[in-house]
Amino acid sequence: MSQLFRAELRKVRSTPVTWWLLMSTAAIGILGTLAPLIAVDGKPVDLLGDHQIRAALHGAAGGAVLVLVAGIIGMAGEWRFGQVSQAFLSTPRRWRVVTVKTVVYLGIGTVYGMAAAVAATATAWGWYRAKGLTLPLDRSAVWLTLVGCVAVAALFGVLGVAIGAIVRRPVPAIVGALAWTVLVEPALFAAAPKVFRWLPGIASLSLRRQPADHLLPAGAAAAVLLGVIAVALAAGVRLVERDDVTG
């Protein structure tokens, strides 16, 4: 497995989209932090309150969305240019390929999440400093938000691999996953928050300490997210093992 792990790391490192998505993640971290701060600029808002700090640092959550895309491309992309045949010729026990990708994209998710967290923190720190304030880095509202964003990014990397293993066509998988995460889940949650707070994307908001009502407690949210990922991964491995590679 270690040789396969090294091969996957080499593959990820030498694929340009990995780096483009990482840079985009950092950019989203910056913009996602600036946007709520600009929105309240000049208004009588306590920038040092927990609620406002969590809202500002939510830019760090941007990493989660793009690492989902990276995970999907990492798995489903194998089918796009015929790499999957070579992957399974080297490793005929296909579950090993999915397992190694799961571990690698857990790590990539962590890296993306940290990049977004650093970008968001630096941006917020600069904004606060420009306002003559100091971002209280020792406050739990800061570090719990950042740790939550990094953890969710790591888990979304794995979720991307699972989705890619199930769908195996990158474009529909990416469009479907983004539409579900960005549009469908928020709309359902807005319509009936107590029912749809169990959805995985909404549960991740709780882990990321997003300031919103009706979210699950962090422990339950983590259980929901982990459960969904485990089921999706199991389904993905089963489909990848079972289905023929015909082209």
Binding site: L4, T15, V84, S90, D244
Partner: protein
Amino acid sequence: MSSRTGAIECRSLKKVFGDRVAVDDVSFQVPPGTITGFVGANGAGKTTTMRMLLGLVAPSSGTAWVNGRPYRDLEQPRREVGAVVDGPGAHPGHSARTHLSIMALAGGLPRRRVDEVLDLVELTEHAHRRVDGFSMGMLQRLALAGALLGDPGILILDEPVNGLDPPGILWVRDLLRRLAEEGRALLVSSHLLSELAEVAHRVVIIDRGRLIADTTLDDLLAEQSHVVELRCADPAPLVQELRARQVKVVADGDGLLIEGLSARETGEAVAAVGAGPVYWLTERTGSFEDVYFRLAGSMPHPLSDVAVSS
């Protein structure tokens, strides 16, 4: 390159996709040290058979073994089997060297093999170029490099000369000969029998999923026959007459291809049924494709409604 050997065996192999039978009861062997040409029209079942041998497609029934085991049971598959399926399988953003390095890492192969196979397929000077800038011929060479990376005793090559220019085809033929001389077992597919005739020791022909020939090239050549090409004013009564005499005749554009009669016998038949005047009458040795189509039972050219083989 080491002197490796290996063997391939299919037994009663069958694959059904939905309600379509892609491969039906196919059995053959590829012994060590031989090149076996695997010939069939597009869609005949060649690629599916090869993918079953490589563990990429699961057989509906029967066995597809390499070195006495299913591919999925091989501990170090890259060291035992090399394959070209559907091009090199490289990410277009990777260089040739990166692609082969990833394969070497995944296959547990020494990194030096990357340089060795790049040299072997004459791609060293393009090693750092992105694969999306490669010509079709370069992609085929890269695919062959990947197949040879593990220095395997078995090579399963699906249309390896597809897209190559004539010098490239000669180069591949020479490479295949050398690999077989080292004791390896080679299964090489093509939709053109003539493409493999100069290198193959054995020929396996598949048509619509069924095996129709598994023979040596010498035996196959012995089956070549003479074909008469004819263009005349009114072919319909001649076709009827030849059908009655159990002579094989097929349409070829505005003429006929007749097998089993000499030019003189054909001319006499035309005169006897009043099919003349004759515009063209010539006798030629059957080509490899004629042999293939005769064995396959299908026609080299679309049949008209008047020309039906007997």
